[in-house]
Amino acid sequence: MAIIQSAVDEFEPHPDVALIEKVRGGDISAYDVLVRKYERQIFRIALHITQNREDAEDVAQDAFLKAYQKLEQFQGNSKFYTWLVRIAVNESLMRLRKRRTGKMVSIDEDVATEEGSVPRDLADWAPNPEQNYNQAELADILRKTIQGLPEGFRIVFVLRDVEGLSTEETAETLGLSIPAVKSRLLRARLQLRERLSRYFHRTRGIEK
């Protein structure tokens, strides 16, 4: 299936390419289609990074405006969505820096954890553990859990596992090496798993 899909990708241009050509030709309604297509994801990514709804709205606006203004510079050798995500991530990090004046925000910083250590928490989870909670409770648990991750891990997990960027695209977007993305992703996945265990343990967690 993946082989068939990659063959299709090779010969058929991404549907965004035609829309971008129209925008370059002055058709702003084509940009409207692109904004509709990606505004949710861009807002979500911005909110994951900034943790602030107002900032996330501003970031989404700025990112789409910047992409529009720089559309001539878009080479087409990466996907429009990946290019847009890169702009949104940079805008989000800039906003964080503004909020935390004097405190640098960098996803390049390595966060000291026990790399490669075997997880200690052996607790298995209940089958379909999310069903023990209603939607609001579950969303709250998932938010709290991911917010507790170090920034550099959180952003990599969101781009790679939630928004579905490839390892290469994530590395390019964040200006990190591929091994750095892989290392952060592994630690993010394991830390989230361990933190969720307290809620999804076979006998429903007491630390709810």
Binding site: F43, Q61, L65, P119, L122, L142, V162, K182, R189
Partner: protein, 78 residues
């Protein structure tokens, strides 16, 4: 295969990018190690839960506001 070696391959296993030979070794290890089996299953579940639940949803009315704000600014930026 040790648990540490298994863990080093965890991301490749999740992403389905291990060779058939390594996959056979992994299965042998998992058959005898409940620790790694739990680690793999619950990590996969972690990813699936985050992927299938939008924890930061944008309600339709706010989405419309955001959309029109973006388009207004883009039109001014022409």
């Amino acid at each position: 295969m040790t648990c540490k070696e298994f863990l080093a391959l965890l991301d490749d296993i999740i992403d389905g990018s291990v060779s058939p030979e390594t996959r056979a070794e992994l299965h042998t290890h998992l058959d005898h190690c409940s620790h790694c089996k739990v680690t793999l299953d619950t990590t996969l579940k972690t990813i699936e839960i985050y992927r299938s639940h939008e924890i930061y949803d944008l309600p339709d009315n706010l989405r419309e506001q955001l959309h029109s704000a973006i388009m207004t600014r883009c039109k001014k930026g022409c």
